[in-house]
């Protein structure tokens, strides 16, 4: 792994808090790194082991569950 390695992170964000926060950050013109891919979920309770596995399978280096 070289020093310029930038992991691809998939962030599963709860509609009511983490996603709303990300949304608010957007309206405040705040930026976050482009290698974080936000996926809105109705609730983190909806996050299933398969979501995690499929993300890794499709090339994600890490997963972030926020809620």
């Amino acid at each position: 792994m070289n020093e310029t390695f930038e992991p691809q992170i998939v962030a599963y964000c709860c509609n009511y808090c983490a996603y709303a926060a990300a949304d608010l950050a957007g309206s405040m013109r705040l930026s976050y790194p482009s290698n974080v891919k936000v996926i809105q979920v109705p609730c983190t309770g909806r996050v299933d082991i398969l979501y995690l596995l499929r993300a890794i399978e499709d090339g994600a280096d890490g997963i972030y569950v926020a809620g």
Partner: protein, 222 residues
């Protein structure tokens, strides 16, 4: 139900290491109920195997199918049209499943993804315990429907042995002494005299010891 555990990933990977395209078959019977070989577990194993193969820099194609029961040729037939498209079939059923698949598709290579353990039930979510040894001649009426053949580590018909302590079996503190439970129940019900009865030598012919078993129901045979 029949309770099974999934084999380790290493063991499964080793079995299928030469194949590029496999059919992963789940079963909607017992192994779905004990959360080890149903549709969900098929999806998870499929994903894990693909990730593991990717880490090796090789590709694995997995097709997922979950049929009603693998212990029934009627349902196994549903796989016939597709089965030749794969290098091998990995079964997520109990030990019966891969054998039925092997009998139905003699030219295909079939592998088991599970270790079949016992006949039992869930005592709490996520914990299953053995209850029956399938010995073929039920004797639990002697013991208030508690089976010492399956549940005593020594299958004693006249227990408890000298290793029973604090309600636990001598083999492990995690194992209940079934004889302790039998005796206490008889004492509570004031029927201890039942345990003064000598039980005859068991005829093990009806168990696996008598050779592979078969059950024929004449009225159903066509």
């Amino acid at each position: 139900m029949i309770v099974a555990d999934r084999k380790s990933l290493d063991e499964i990977q080793e079995m299928i290491k030469d194949y590029k395209k496999i059919l992963l078959v789940g079963c909607k019977g017992c192994v779905t109920v004990c959360n080890v070989g149903g549709m969900k577990e098929v999806q998870v194993l499929s994903s894990i195997l693909k990730i593991a193969r990717k880490k090796e820099g090789r590709e694995l194609q997995v097709e997922e199918r979950t049929i009603e029961r693998q212990c029934d040729f009627e349902y196994v037939e549903q796989l016939r049209a597709d089965c030749d498209r794969f290098d091998a079939i990995l079964s997520m059923a109990c030990g019966v499943g891969p054998q039925f698949l092997a009998e139905a598709f003699p030219s295909q290579k079939i592998y088991p993804a599970l270790d079949t353990k016992f006949f039992g039930g869930a005592v709490q979510h996520g914990i299953w315990e053995e209850r029956c040894a399938g010995c073929g001649t039920c004797v639990i009426h002697f013991y208030d429907s508690l089976c010492p053949i399956a549940r005593c580590a020594k299958s004693l018909q006249h227990g408890p042995c000298g290793g029973s302590a604090n309600g636990k079996c001598e083999i492990s503190e995690d194992v209940d002494c079934i004889w302790d439970i039998i005796v206490r129940k008889k004492m509570e019900q004031e029927r201890l005299e039942d345990l003064r009865t000598y039980r005859a030598f068991k005829d093990w012919r009806s168990a696996r010891d008598g050779g592979p078993r078969k059950s024929i129901r004449e009225e159903l045979v066509q």
